[in-house]
């Protein structure tokens, strides 16, 4: 399937009751493309039309995805199709303005700070339909055996100290930083919003295990080549959240994603805009292939976003998650903590030992957090965290929605301090680009979760991953088919996060065959040689474009933080221009412009400007920024009107666009023992892919070749009594010696071993274990108990061995333990020791 050549659907929105066309500047946005673990190539189709009697200038400001850059656009009308050209920013703007003044159709795409792009389409004549197709290259959030593709359909209203906010959903940014950038108006409902849809082709790093979307209702169609097509179920949705697609691989192995022309060994058609010496492949080495270093004491400073935009479920879950993280620390570990909104509040000025007394104080401190501290003023908070760590190593663990403007300064501030920042991004428009850059530039790692997802579980997963680097001071030596080697500096490997090596362009058309990783110095040094067993074709130029895109992003971040008009700034601007020109990518220095001279264009015609609106991100408390605006809970496409083809004179397929139903179809728990609410997943086992689909389809009354799966169930208040909360709440109460509180040491040991078994069973067979650290702490307590009672408690010793050895399942009704551990610990102990469980 060639996703890049299909025609857009060509719909316009009409009133459900009257059938009259809704006067929107932009009618539709349709995303298509191909996502791989190495990155994604996207094509975004926008349709502009004015129902007024005057020519229109439409302004659409949107956010780029992570590591995203603009390549080009094509502008299409009834009898023309023109491709953009890349021009220096100032010249492009002048050309655009002249085009508008001369009455010509003019289209301009300009990159702005924070990854925002403004697309201006000037001189759209009454009743004229103009289509602008943007090509975007994007990164993905990658883990060892899974990756997450995210595309922002909306833009998060964010904090800036000098921004002014109007109650009607408008934010004005200071012109000294943002120039004349016009932000969209944020709408609290679906009125006045364009329609969005998507069709993506996704591939896994190896055999595909599953595809799922926690953000949208999707249709998934497996292809014969191991990839799958994913598209929105229904006709359209509203732009009030990111699209998120998770793709999971079945097997973890070292892989290479190389340009199709390298893999097929044919000269083939190459992208004319990619330089000959551009990177051609990306190698992928799962962290699980690297032996882990021994864990030592840790120092971590938690930075928790308490701004109004975190209100509701995110802040509640984040608080519990921090408490769970604290309970996984040893008394010899040190922690710091602060929460912030417009200002920040510190737990202590310095790091504190994780003793019972300090944890108790921390619990009280956390209880004050209520998402009522104003805007997301992140920079001073991170500065304070760096100060708390005191320059003696340690990591920052940041939990935020990242809703802040002027992010380049923040990233540079942390990068220059040399402190690693691990980031948990929360929100349905969670500023993926900024937060992933913040983690990458500080040698940290990140996860992004939506408000419908399990923040607490993901926090613990991330905390487990970053407890200790798998290896530091890592170098990679890549040997290619021609026996030529490339050396790469990797720095740090984190548990669960693969090493990604991008070709440096020196080995021509050869792909890697083996990769040797070395680490440490002297006695702590080591190495491992990994054969590359799997090579996958990706679109020609993808690795090169992603490489260049990251360079553009890094230069832009440095540019934001550079002093005004200094020599450093001039040098950065020169570099940016050069990378942009070499790879044909838009940047802050270079814009994309097209001017189309149509027959009948008249100079001097003024245009009526219309700014394209977007939805307040779902789940966000709109009132925290715009006074009087309600919280946006699951307002999806239920209020959109009907959709009708504009290319047909007659009505073509009147049908409702989506429904308000939050959950569709049966769900298949992917991790049934974790005590977490189940998530809808399309299983892609090569053996029974279609069988499972058919079976599920029959159950749901759907056609066998189109399987529709639902979104995650909302993690609302009603779920907080659920099992995951019980288990977390229990783990939070672990004492500093690793045991549960209360009673005699024997009683403590018995309740602790049952809880440790429950956590072990919850994590068993999971790709992303949550309770590793807690289990380690509980085993330390139990080992100490058994040492003091050698041979006196054989049942206990047996159960502890089961956990230590791993692999073995302990049958029984573990759900009762997850659901209410306090009520059943004694009886479960009795049942376990008598074999009745």
């Amino acid at each position: 399937m060639n996703l890049f050549t299909e025609e857009p659907r060509g719909n316009v929105l009409v009133e459900a009751g009257t059938g009259s066309v809704i006067p929107l500047a932009m009618q539709n946005l349709e995303l298509a493309g191909r996502a791989t673990p190495a990155g994604a190539m996207l094509r975004v189709t926008h349709q502009f039309k004015t129902e007024g009697t005057k020519p229109m200038e439409a302004i659409y400001t949107f956010m780029l995805p992570r590591n995203g850059t603009l390549r080009r656009f094509i502008v299409k009308g009834e009898d023309f199709e023109v491709e953009s050209k890349l021009e220096p920013r100032k010249e492009a703007r002048e050309e655009y303005e002249k085009g508008v003044e001369d009455g010509h159709l003019s289209v301009l795409a300009e990159a702005n700070p924070d990854g925002m792009v403004s697309l201006a389409v000037g001189q759209v004549q009454p009743d004229e339909m103009i289509t602008v197709i943007l090509d975007i290259v994007s990164g993905v959030e990658i883990k060892d055996n899974t990756y997450r593709f995210r595309f922002p359909f909306t833009l998060a209203p964010s904090y800036h100290a000098k921004a002014t906010v109007s109650s009607g959903g408008k934010i004005e940014l200071p012109s000294d930083v943002f120039g004349d950038l016009i932000l969209p108006e944020w709408k609290s409902g679906s009125d006045g919003l364009h329609q969005v849809s998507f069709r993506m082709n996704v591939e896994a790093a190896g055999k595909m295990e599953s595809v799922s979307s926690p953000s949208h209702r999707v249709l998934v169609r497996p292809n014969g080549d191991g990839s799958a097509d994913v598209e929105l179920s229904g006709n359209g949705d509203i732009p009030n959240r990111d699209l998120v697609i998770d793709v999971q691989a079945k097997e973890v192995e070292a892989s290479v994603f190389a340009d199709a022309k390298l893999v097929s060994k044919k000269s083939g058609k190459d992208d004319p805009k990619i330089p000959k010496d551009a990177p051609r492949w990306t190698a992928f080495i799962p962290s699980s292939l690297v032996p882990k270093d021994k864990a030592g004491p840790r120092k971590v400073c938690f930075v928790l976003d308490d701004s109004g935009s975190m209100g509701g479920s995110p802040i509640t879950q984040a608080k519990l998650a921090v408490q769970a993280c604290l309970s996984a620390l040893r008394p010899t570990d040190e922690f710091g903590m602060l929460y912030f909104g417009s200002n920040f509040t510190k737990f202590d000025d310095n790091m504190a030992k994780a003793t019972d007394a300090n944890r108790k104080r921390a619990d009280k401190f956390i209880s004050h957090i209520d998402a009522n501290s104003g805007g997301t003023n992140l920079a001073p908070a991170l500065g304070a965290a760096i100060s708390i760590l005191g320059g003696s190593g340690g990591d920052i663990f940041l939990m935020t929605d990242g809703q802040v403007f002027d992010t380049g300064t923040i990233i540079e501030q942390c990068a220059s301090a040399g402190t690693r920042v691990h980031v948990l991004g929360i929100g349905s428009a969670s500023q993926d680009r900024f937060l992933s850059s913040l983690a990458r530039r500080t040698d940290g790692v990140e996860r992004m979760v939506g408000v419908d997802e399990d923040v607490t579980a993901t926090t613990l997963e991330l905390f487990n991953s970053v407890r200790q680097p798998v290896r530091t001071d890592v170098k990679a030596f890549v040997v290619t088919g021609s026996k030529m080697a490339q050396e790469h500096k990797v720095s740090t490997i984190w548990d669960g996060y693969p090493v990604l090596l991008v070709d440096d362009g020196t080995t021509g058309l050869n792909t890697p065959t083996t990769i040797t990783l070395t680490w440490g110095k002297g006695k702590k040094s080591g190495k491992i040689k990994i054969p590359v067993t799997y090579t996958q074709k990706v679109p020609n130029g993808l690795s090169g474009l992603l490489y260049a895109g990251r360079k553009v992003e890094d230069l832009e971040i440095s540019l934001d933080a550079a002093a005004d008009a200094g020599p450093a700034k001039v040098s950065l601007e020169t570099d940016l221009k050069e990378v942009s020109t070499t790879y044909g990518l838009a940047s802050r220095a270079m814009s994309l412009i097209a001017v189309v001279k149509r027959a009948g264009d008249q100079a001097g015609q003024s245009v009526q400007q219309k700014v394209v609106a977007v939805g307040i991100p779902e789940g966000m408390n709109g009132g925290s920024i715009f006074r009087g605006m309600p919280q946006m809970a699951a307002i999806r496409s239920q209020n959109l009107s009907y959709s009708v083809s504009s290319h047909n004179s007659g009505v073509c397929g009147f049908m409702p666009t989506g429904s308000s139903s939050a959950v569709y179809g049966a769900s298949m728990p992917s991790q049934p023992f974790r005590g977490i609410r189940s998530r809808s997943v399309v299983s892609c086992s090569s053996v029974n892919w279609m069988d499972q689909e058919s079976e599920r389809s029959e159950n749901e009354g759907l056609a066998a070749d189109d399987v529709e799966y639902g979104m995650l169930e909302s993690f609302g208040n009603s779920d907080k009594s659920g099992s995951v909360w019980s288990l977390f709440t229990f783990l939070v109460s672990l004492q500093s010696d690793g045991g549960l509180p209360g009673g005699t040491r024997k009683e403590r040991a018995r309740s602790t071993v049952v809880l440790a078994l429950a956590a072990y069973m919850a994590d068993k067979d999971s790709d992303t274990p949550m309770y590793t650290l807690h289990i380690e702490r509980m085993l330390e307590f139990l080992d100490h108990y058994l040492d003091l009672n050698t041979g006196k408690d054989p049942e206990m010793a047996k159960l502890v061995d089961i956990i230590k050895v791993g692999q073995v399942s302990v049958g029984g009704d573990w759900m009762q333990v997850f659901n209410d551990p306090f009520a059943v610990l004694d009886s479960v102990w009795d049942e376990l020791t008598t074999g009745q469980f």
Partner: protein
Amino acid sequence: MKYTMSELANKSEVSARTIRYWISEQLIPSPKGSGHGAFYTDEHLEAICRVKKMKDEGVTLAAIKNMDGCPDAQTFPTKRLSHVSPFPGVDLLIDDEVSPHYRRIFIQAVTNAARSLQTDKQGVKK
């Protein structure tokens, strides 16, 4: 004096895009003339300069729009305040940017003071 959009932008040092935005927000008048004969005048130039001045002083566009040509009536950005009544007869307006921690301390202090005053008045406390 008649201006084209580019002349107006050059003269006012405000970009054409921003001028069109302010026109769409009804902060400055629409161009005079119609069709391809549209033009701008000194009236537009003055309005642009006025909006620009107020915006530089931190006034929101919404506030400028509501001023009816009286630029000095409101030259400060509006603050978001929360109304709290911690004790009968005591009403507080607290800046939303105050952290919850200090907000609690402040409300507690005011409550204690009010309670102390009341008990003094009732003669319970000496």
